[in-house]
């Protein structure tokens, strides 16, 4: 379990994390989302004492991280793939890490097998691909068989098989009663993996709820209608609280009316419909809606960029 209380981090005049409160429960996979620069990595670093909070506190499994007698058995952390000396082999890196807690070499072999690193374990880490580096980072996080796992973008650079493996692994670890905190920018993957979501934006918690609740919050009753008579249908349905967008020549997207209402009215006016679909929100939609005002580094509008280029 991870408990943060008014956790704050300033870098000079910039506030990276702004008095956040949250609890990460054991037995669940908790997704940690937010735009670049939202403070996710900084928060994760503060949990394991790599960065010192400017104010507030964070405790893991009941104590500040540095007060634990066996830190690697409490928390396994993957911060980024580059927390390894490039001149050392994966096997020797894990052996050096294991030695600090007198973890037997048999466990080193176990995590190497578990992460599929057997064939490259004796090679120097400098030559590793991004995916291999991630696997090594996950192996190091699992070394102490820890009660809490903190994984910063673990699927970054992994092949589809690896992505699926991380999903199964994290779910299994959570099912064993462990605390799993996971960040990722892949929303579809997060929707499949996480039970609970914490969204950060500009250093603040902007959502902390179950995946179902987060998605429900973004549901807007959007209905997609395909009809050859778009103009007639649009004028028929036009009213104050309804927005109608003409997506394609024969497709309308309608907010504010249910599928039943649209179907009944169209039938009454004898307008033929070729498609009538309720568009359900995805985690990605919900996330975009939540963070639309919180994005620190926004990409330029592609439309204007194209015009400038011209």
């Amino acid at each position: 379990m991870i408990q943060a209380q008014s956790l704050t981090k300033h870098y000079g005049s910039k506030t990276a994390v702004d008095a956040v409160d949250f609890t990460v429960q054991p037995g669940k996979v908790t997704g940690f989302l937010g735009p670049n620069g939202a403070g996710k990595s900084t928060t994760m670093r503060m949990i394991v004492g790599l960065d010192r909070p400017s104010a507030g506190s964070v405790i893991v499994n009941g104590k500040p991280y540095h007060e634990h007698k066996a830190p690697l058995r409490e928390v396994g952390v993957l911060l980024d793939a580059k927390a390894v000396h490039t001149g050392r082999s994966a096997y020797n890196h894990l052996r050096a890490m294991a030695a600090t807690h007198s973890i037997p070499t048999s466990r080193v072999h176990e995590v190497i097998n578990l992460t599929g690193l057997e064939s490259v374990a004796k090679k120097r880490v400098g030559g590793f691909s991004l995916g291999m580096g991630q696997r090594l980072g996950i192996a190091a996080a699992l070394l102490g068989d820890p009660a809490t796992l903190i994984l910063d973008e673990p699927v970054n650079g992994l092949d589809p098989e690896g992505v699926q493996w991380v999903r199964k692994l994290t779910k299994q670890l959570a099912a064993e009663g462990r605390t799993v905190l996971l960040s990722s920018h892949l929303m579809s993957e997060m929707a499949l993996t996480a039970d609970h979501i914490i969204v950060l934006g500009r250093g603040r918690v902007i959502a902390d709820a179950s995946v179902a609740d987060i998605i429900a919050s973004a549901a807007q009753n959007t209905v997609r209608v395909r009809t050859p008579h778009t103009a007639a249908l649009a004028s028929l349905l036009a009213q104050a609280d309804v927005t109608i967008t003409n997506l394609e020549q024969d497709v309308l997207e309608i907010n504010g009316l249910t599928v039943n209402e649209i179907g009944d009215r169209a039938a009454a006016a004898q307008i033929s419909l070729h498609e009538l679909t309720a568009v359900s929100a995805s985690l990605e939609d919900a996330y975009m809606k939540l963070t639309q005002d919180e994005v620190e580094y926004r990409t330029g509008d592609t439309h204007t960029e194209a015009e400038v280029a011209r």
Binding site: L50, Y65, H85, R88
Partner: protein, 281 residues
């Protein structure tokens, strides 16, 4: 037989996981740092270079001395045969000092440049035990390599200088004490460099700083002493000079010089510890 997924059983398994097994220990940290030291190729070639430089220069000097030597000349210089042996056996260690200084800086700056430091400090959140373990391991192995170099060089010199009927016993206190002193100073240079590497956190900056203190500082202070007389009094208190006085005392006693050397190491490691504890990794 069909498989039924039992949802209540899954829910029942969700009691918090309790970790078990061995914890952090200083012995474990020493073992970890020894593994780190000996699993990098650079360690092998830097230590090999220290030994090779020592042996090589010992051979050269031994031949040079036995060729150009005659009894009255050495008598005039005030050097007896044990003095010649010590000179030959330790001549190459000056180069070794520069090599282990680089090794000391790299042992910690390499962790910063590669990101390894995050793994190290996440495993040892109180941080200082990790630094002390690194210092202890590097000190021990550098001392052993230094001792092997000077004793080996001494043994190499025996047959060469023997052609001029010069002899000395390794266990003569005028031989073994200077040899031990040289190995000790070599190890303390490595440890001093670990401190500087921790303070500076970069390989280039750390190496420049350490070599500046070892090589450049005596020259600069020497030049100043020609302009300002009292500056000459500082000379014996420089790291390199104190290290030399530790072995061949001239302006102060051996133990006093040793304290000066320890003070340099203490300042370097003290600042390193304070910064390591305070800074974000």
């Amino acid at each position: 037989m069909s498989t039924v997924i039992n949802s209540t059983q899954q829910a029942g398994a969700r009691t918090p996981f309790v970790p078990t097994g061995s914890g952090l220990s200083f012995i474990g940290l020493l073992r970890s740092e020894a593994i780190k030291l000996w699993t990098l190729r650079s360690t092998y070639w830097t230590f090999s270079l220290v030994v090779a430089a020592s042996f090589g220069i010992a051979v050269l000097m031994a031949y040079a001395m036995s060729a150009g030597l005659d009894e009255p000349a050495t008598a005039a210089m005030g050097i007896d045969s044990t003095g010649i042996f010590v000179l030959v056996a330790t001549a190459g260690l000056g180069l070794g000092q520069l090599i282990v200084a680089v090794l000391g800086v790299l042992s910690i700056s390499g962790e910063y440049s590669s990101g390894m430091i995050k793994s190290t400090l996440a495993a040892v959140p109180n941080r200082l035990p990790a630094l002390w373990a690194k210092v202890a391991v590097l000190f021990s192995f550098t001392f052993l390599v230094g001792l092997f170099s000077v004793v080996g060089s001494f043994l190499i010199a025996i047959p060469i200088l023997g052609t001029k009927d010069l002899t000395a016993s390794l266990f003569d206190e005028h031989v073994i004490l200077p040899l031990l002193g040289n190995a000790l100073f070599l190890a303390l240079i490595a440890v001093f460099a670990v401190g500087i590497g921790t303070i500076v956190r970069s390989s280039a900056g750390g190496i420049a700083t350490v070599l500046g203190i070892i090589l450049l500082l005596p020259t600069v202070v020497g030049l100043f002493s020609m302009l300002v007389g009292w500056v000459a009094d500082i000379m014996p208190f420089l790291f390199t000079m104190a290290g030399a006085e530790m072995i061949t005392p001239s302006t102060m006693e051996s133990w006093q010089a040793f304290l000066v050397v320890l003070a340099w190491v203490a300042v370097s490691l003290g600042a390193a510890a304070a910064l390591l504890k305070r800074r974000d990794a």
